[in-house]
Amino acid sequence: MLHDNHLALVAAAVLGLPAAAFLGLGGFMFLVRAPSERFIARLTTLVFGLALIGSLVTLGNVLLGPQHLIKIHIGRWFELPGYAFEVTLVIDRLTATFMVLTTAIIGLIGRFSQTYLHRERGYARFFLLVHLFATGMLLLVMAGSVDMMFAGWEFVGLTSVLLIGFFDERNGPVRNGLRAFVTYRVCDACLLMGVVLVHHYAHTAQVDLALGAGQWPLGAAHLGQFPATLIAVLFTLGAIGKSAQFPASGWLPRAMEGPTPSSALFYGALSVHAGVYLLLRTAPVFEAAPVARGLLVVVGTLSALYATLVGRTQTDAKNGLAYATITQVGLLFIEIGLGLYVLAVVHMVGHVCVRTFQYLKAPSALHESHLLHAAAGGVHLTTGAHIESILPLRVQRWLYGLALARFHIDEMLDGVAHAVLALARRLDVLNRYFAALYGSAPADRASAAPAPAPAPAAKPFDAKMVRSARS
């Protein structure tokens, strides 16, 4: 059993290690050059090996120790009259579980990637982002205040987007990374509003003070029902984005553009469960907000049904896994909505292990299918076929078409986005009109004039360029 101060040190070191590795590696790459593969590999193994040990020590102490919550004061960032920004970390059973999960999975996938990415352009960039991701994830998990949680949340989102666009020489990854980014932005805005409201209503952002200090998940939030509902709904919206729930699921299958281990790390293991963690952490708020819990159940149900239907029609390994992930995360949402927190944690940890392994083995799909087919004696293995047995043929076809088209959700969201953009453009024109009317600066007026559309015929037709655009 460690003394609390020592435990605090150990826990802080778990967060500090990847952060230091990120800063060191990033600084070196920025100022000098990318270090050798060997060096990066050793550094990564060392960092996550130590971090895992630290996390295990923390978990052991938290589980066996007398205290259910340990708060670590790192310092005070700034102070205003009546307010001080405290940098704090919080360690409890939930946190420690996630610390172990995070460091173990990242360590494992880091090891996998050392071989998998050997000689790849962007090797150093990949590991730099992995360290940043680890920092963000651990910050999110260990944050003592919702502000810091948000900061960690943003690091997770940023690294996720950058790794989707890892192969930046092709269009697809960049476009799909952008889509994830936009989805994150919209949902993160909701989360940010929630964070601001926590400040507003609870007058503090400290997790233990605002969200309840009891033994997790039994703490009680110091919030009235209306503020709790408002905040919980906003947190739910934030979690929907990060955890790819209905209707913001479209980005997750599109995120399968990066190298296989980054898909495993982000969309099988950690990033996609960040929303689940947020909900678990803020469970006391949801306890006080039955409406928000109802919303969780509805969102989870819709996501699970939608994803399981769409997933059944996917003909490739990674998209199939993406929808399988959304299905289970939907169930996790339901479990949290129903207040089954411990089940949710157990389910989530199991899901992380299964899914990560499946992602890592995704390129084996062909081999495994042949192997099973042969072992089964050449018969085509089927299971269930529940939809086929229940629904009439017409409905089946209708549903298949809908599922193959992914329920047209992305197109509908595009439609909404275009409508918003069109509205914004009109408002902009209106704004300029009024600005011009009331005589603004000439510079502005010049830019207010609609720019002449570039004459399309001006540039010579280049067959070569056109063709390369095809590929």
Partner: protein, 1058 residues
């Protein structure tokens, strides 16, 4: 533009369209489902053309890279991989007329010199913007590039300085300054600008003394500026006043409607259409990835998609709605795919004469899926028999539905065009200016300047060229375009390698007797001709001088449909061009039958369990239970990632314990010829005695093993183990149709051991002694494991020899692993052979290892002849080695058979690697890391992309793209005769898809096949390094190694390796 024809379908239209489609289909990739990977010439569609012509056409059509880049070649030149002699020879071959292009006093510039300069120094076309950058940021006009040879630079500066001084000293007063200013001026400068420019250059006032000092201080600036001014003046006056002809957009040659719209609007209809097509095509062709298969697939692609759209809810994307409406109409009419195409072509207004081109470009929007559809249509045997029908016409019909919908949508929303689609090109195509790229003045000046500086032509000499001289040089420079430069470089690159190998072989031959065989051999090992077996053979021979090796095509002459104990179906184990007529099955030994049954039952149980876990964990309710218990998955995941080799061995051990493998026999005997039993699949069950004798005979004769039999002879097939590798089949035996060749080796040995076969062979003149025993085996080229089959049948007198051979194999495979490890950057340096063996075993079991082995990445050579001419020559795993004894081949029939087996397989592998390396993004399938298995048919990139064909970067990255240097022990006359008889061989040889070299069997004289037929090759007298073992030669090297002679010291070779 022809008017859209009336919307009706008649027979000739249909035929015409189908015919055009048939032609267009040739240009699509011909790769089948990836589970069986067959290496083939990526440019098979251009096989009837010569190699270089084919590349030129393919480059133009696909927009691909033809050869390595000029930069890469220049790098190879700097490294000595290409020498000056190689380049001169390549230029000389290509350009017989070394005409003088420009003559000035003291210097004549000839065509060949110009070409060499253009190759060795970047002299490519430069854009106006690029030139501006070079002038402003890279001091193009005041400093010599650092690739200018020192001698030329000295001359340029010296004479340039003299020239500047002479101008300055002209006349009196300001006259000299004016003369200098005008000599350094850019055309069009007025005198004041010119003076200002001069002042800027000199960093001094434009006065005679100050300028004289400036010239002393920085002669290079004046010399270079003077040259640049001269070049500008020459090209300025040499202006070509006729501007390049411009014309409007033409459908077909300039592209499809999509290309026009992309140019006009910047929006790409392919972005819309490809996504739909790939979703539908993969759902339709899926071989079992999706849990819920597409309905109505038995109707064919077009009808299935139509039915799907009709029964689906209305699409949300606006552009898709017209497609849905159209499909509903068509479903009511029940039209055929080809009707749809004919109508669509008419509606789009595609003129008849460009129909084929139009279709090619349409198909090339998504070559992977279109190619798969076409391949499966032509090769139904690539899929299980109950698969849905594949048809390229269906595919094109569906594509045209979406293509037109997208065009209509884009034309309406962006261009405001609501008229018929046929009018689109007429209305907008005129305003598009398609022009042949012609160099502008700026580019001409730049190129002339670059040429003059690297050629060491100072300003005054440049001036003497005159407009005509400059023009002549420029015409030549433009004509010797990038493609021609890269082609010439490529020839030089190949020549260097060819000479290195031929010289080494010539020297080696002086030291050996070509007709010599090993006296009293103790062992003989017959491996596949595969380049990866070269090292194993060499190590075996180094370890045991009385061991003799042979190379035969890895199916060992037995073409069969084989079903192993664990296989679900029969697989054709033979080269793809052969269709087996025999069927062979592996059966458990009678005594082990109960064991077999138990094993089968357990395997079935295991399969069901794994399947339910795999599907269940992806589904909703079962998934909840399974994933909640999923923490258990952490155990295999952790062990497989952290301890690949140990966990692989553990799994192996578990499977041996739980699923013990019974002893097995191949059922291959058919007693009497008359009572030919047929299997359910209509094949002959097993081989009759005559057939066995035939096959054994042809195998032994083919490799020249007709006498001096060793007591123990091993037939060694090969295959490769790797994890997480969709391309696994590409590492297996090419001669066994992308499968493992073990069963063929086993069967071949079994046949040769039969007394009745021996009797038959004796009757035909091959006397295999009673004491000789054949054993089949398998070499795993990734883990370097060697398995021998049916060792329990080995007669008593040979058991000791067998044990001895086992020890030899163990040493040899460790050395093989050791040699392979030198090429892996991630392998430990200075490892012992045993450590190296453990390393490659781990690679084969590692989930994260994209390079379990290097495959054929180093292939470059193919030698058909007696082993004596290559034994003891280090060929660095780069050579296919086919054994062939010209002395026992009296009517060239063996030669013909060998070339027919080796040529296409070797060239197919070589050319696939060639093109996948040269343009890995378009001919190959890019890096493996984002690959995603789709439909059990192939891989795509990440979330959604076209099916990627060709080889991944990790497979080819250490390849040297040279055509297979095929060296055959036969006279030119014999080779030409074979080529005359065999069109497949003729195409490879005459069109130069391989480099063919004839080696005279008796004299060893070599002749290289070229444009003018076989030309004698006079080897350079080179010093061939001599080492005492392979290890001594390759130790510490990671790069390709030149040949060396290995002359073993008497003993203790293995110890030397340690």
């Amino acid at each position: 533009m022809q008017e859209p024809t009336e919307m009706s379908t008649n027979g000739t239209d249909t035929e015409h369209v189908l015919e055009a489609l048939d032609h267009a289909a040739h240009y699509l990739p011909d790769q089948g489902p990836i589970g069986v990977f067959i290496h083939h010439n990526t440019l098979h569609a251009f096989g009837h053309l010569t190699f270089h012509e084919a590349i030129a056409q393919a480059t133009a059509l696909f927009g691909t890279e033809p050869y390595l880049s000029e930069d890469a070649f220049r790098h190879h030149h700097a490294q000595g991989r290409i020498t000056d002699q190689d380049i001169d020879a390549a230029i000389a071959t290509d350009c017989s007329d070394d005409a003088a292009l420009a003559t000035i006093p003291g210097r004549t510039l000839r065509r060949r010199e110009l070409r060499r300069l253009a190759m060795l120094h970047a002299m490519h076309a430069e854009t106006r913007e690029g030139l501006r950058y070079l002038l402003q940021e890279a001091s193009l006009d005041t400093r010599l590039g650092n690739d200018v040879p020192a001698e030329a630079a000295a001359r340029l500066i010296e004479e340039g300085m003299r020239y500047a001084r002479a101008l300055l000293d002209r006349g009196t007063g300001d006259e000299g300054v004016t003369a200098l200013a005008s000599a350094l001026a850019t055309p069009g400068d007025d005198p004041d600008t010119a003076r200002a420019r001069l002042a800027g250059l000199a960093h001094a006032r434009p006065e005679r003394d100050a300028l004289r000092r400036a010239i002393e201080r920085d002669p290079e600036a004046f010399a270079v500026r003077a040259l640049w001014a001269r070049c500008q003046a020459l090209t300025h006056t040499a202006r070509d006043t006729t501007s390049p002809p411009q014309r409007g957009f033409r459908l077909g040659p300039d592209g499809t409607h999509r290309d026009l719209l992309l140019h006009l609007t910047g929006e790409d209809t392919d972005a819309l259409v490809n996504a739909e097509m790939l979703r539908l095509a993969s759902a339709y062709l899926d071989l079992g990835m999706a849990y819920w298969p597409m309905p109505d697939r038995e109707l064919g692609f077009y009808a299935a998609v139509r039915a799907l759209i009709v029964s689906s809810p209305r699409p949300a994307a606006p552009w898709l709605r017209t497609a849905a409406t159209e499909m509903r109409d068509r479903a009511r009419r029940g039209d055929r795919a080809v009707d749809m195409i004919v109508e669509a072509i008419a509606e789009l207004g595609v003129p008849d004469q460009v129909l084929e081109t139009y279709l090619i470009k349409l198909l090339l929007a998504q070559p992977g899926w279109a190619g798969m559809m076409s391949r499966l249509e032509r090769h139904p045997e690539d899929r299980p028999p109950d698969s849905p029908p594949a048809s390229l016409a269906d595919y094109v019909a569906v594509r045209l539905v979406f293509e037109r919908a997208a065009i209509r949508h884009l034309a309406r929303t962006v261009l405001g065009w609501r008229g018929p689609l046929a009018g689109l090109v007429d209305r907008f195509g005129r305003d598009v200016h398609v022009q042949a790229p012609a160099p502008g003045d700026h580019d001409r000046a730049y190129r002339l300047f670059r040429l003059a500086s690297v050629a060491g032509l100072p300003a005054p000499s440049a001036a003497e060229l005159g407009v005509a001289g400059a023009s002549a040089l420029l015409v030549e420079l433009v004509a010797f375009d990038e493609l021609a430069r890269r082609r010439t470089f490529h020839e030089a690159y190949e020549r260097h390698h060819r000479h290195q190998i031929l010289d080494a072989m010539a020297v080696h031959r002086q030291h050996v007797r070509a007709e010599a065989r090993v006296a009293e051999p103790r062992f003989q090992v017959v491996t596949c001709i595969d380049d990866r077996e070269e090292s194993l053979r060499r190590h075996l021979e180094e370890l045991e001088p009385r061991l003799e090796t042979f190379g035969a095509a890895g199916f060992f002459g037995v073409a069969m449909d084989f079903r192993g104990l664990d296989d679900a179906h029969h697989m054709a184990l033979c080269p793809v061009v052969v269709t087996p007529s025999h069927e062979v099955e592996e059966h458990p030994h009678e005594d082990d039958l109960p064991m077999h049954q138990r094993r089968m039952a357990r395997r079935r149980l295991w399969a069901r369990l794994m399947h339910s876990l795999s599907v269940g964990s992806r589904s909703l309710f079962r998934g909840q239970v399974l994933t909640a218990l999923g923490t258990a998955a952490a155990i295999p995941m952790t062990s497989r990632v952290l301890f690949p080799r140990a966990s692989g061995r553990l799994r192996q051990r578990l499977s041996e314990r739980l699923l013990p493998r019974p002893r097995t026999r191949l059922r291959s005997a058919r007693e009497a010829d008359a009572e030919a039993e047929s299997s359910e699949r209509g094949k002959l069950l097993g081989f009759s005695v005559t057939e066995k004798v035939d096959r054994s005979m042809s195998l032994l004769q083919g490799i020249g093993l007709v006498n001096r039999f060793a007591p123990l002879i091993v037939m060694l097939g090969h295959g490769s183990t790797s994890q997480n590798n969709p391309h696994a089949s590409a590492y297996d035996c090419g001669a066994c149709g992308g499968q493992r060749g073990g069963p063929n080796a086993r069967l071949s040995a079994k046949m040769l051991n039969r007394p009745e076969v021996r009797t038959g062979l004796r009757a035909r003149g091959i006397d295999v002694p009673e004491t000789t025993w054949f054993i089949g085996g398998m070499h795993d080229t990734a883990s370097d494991a060697i398995t021998l089959y049916d060792t329990d049948h080995v007669p008593g007198h040979a058991t000791e020899a067998l044990a001895e051979l086992g020890r030899l194999f163990d040493q040899a495979r460790a050395l093989d692993a050791h040699e392979r490890c030198r090429r892996f950057e991630s392998a430990p340096r200075n490892a012992t052979p045993e450590q190296a063996l453990r390393h490659v075993e781990a690679r084969a079991e590692h989930l994260a290892e994209p390079r379990s082995e290097c495959g054929h990445a180093t292939n470059a050579i193919c030698i058909v002849g007696r082993r004596a001419i290559t034994r003891g020559l280090f060929l660095d795993r780069r050579a296919f080695l086919a054994s062939y004894d010209p002395m026992s081949d009296h009517d060239d029939s063996i030669l013909e058979r060998t070339l027919l087996a080796v040529g296409p397989v070797g060239a197919g592998i070589n050319l696939e690697y060639f093109f996948s390396y040269v343009d890995n993004q378009r001919y190959g399938c890019g890096t493996k890391l984002p690959h995603n298995v789709t439909g059990l048919l192939g891989v795509m990139n990440g979330h959604a992309s076209d099916l990627r064909t060709g080889l991944p970067w990790q497979m080819v990255e250490i390849h040297e793209p040279v055509r297979l240097l095929t060296i055959v022990e036969a006279t030119p006359e014999q080779l030409l005769a074979v080529a005359e008889r065999q069109p497949v061989v003729r195409e490879l040889v005459v069109n130069r898809w391989i480099q063919l070299v004839s080696v005279d069997p008796t004299t060893g004289a070599m002749k290289v096949f070229g444009d003018r037929g076989f030309v004698p090759y006079a080897p350079d007298a080179v010093q061939l390094p001599v080492v005492s073992s392979s290890v001594d030669w390759y130790r510490g090297h990671i790069e390709h190694l030149a040949p060396a002679r290995i002359v073993p010291r008497e003993k203790a070779l293995v110890h030397a390796a340690r």
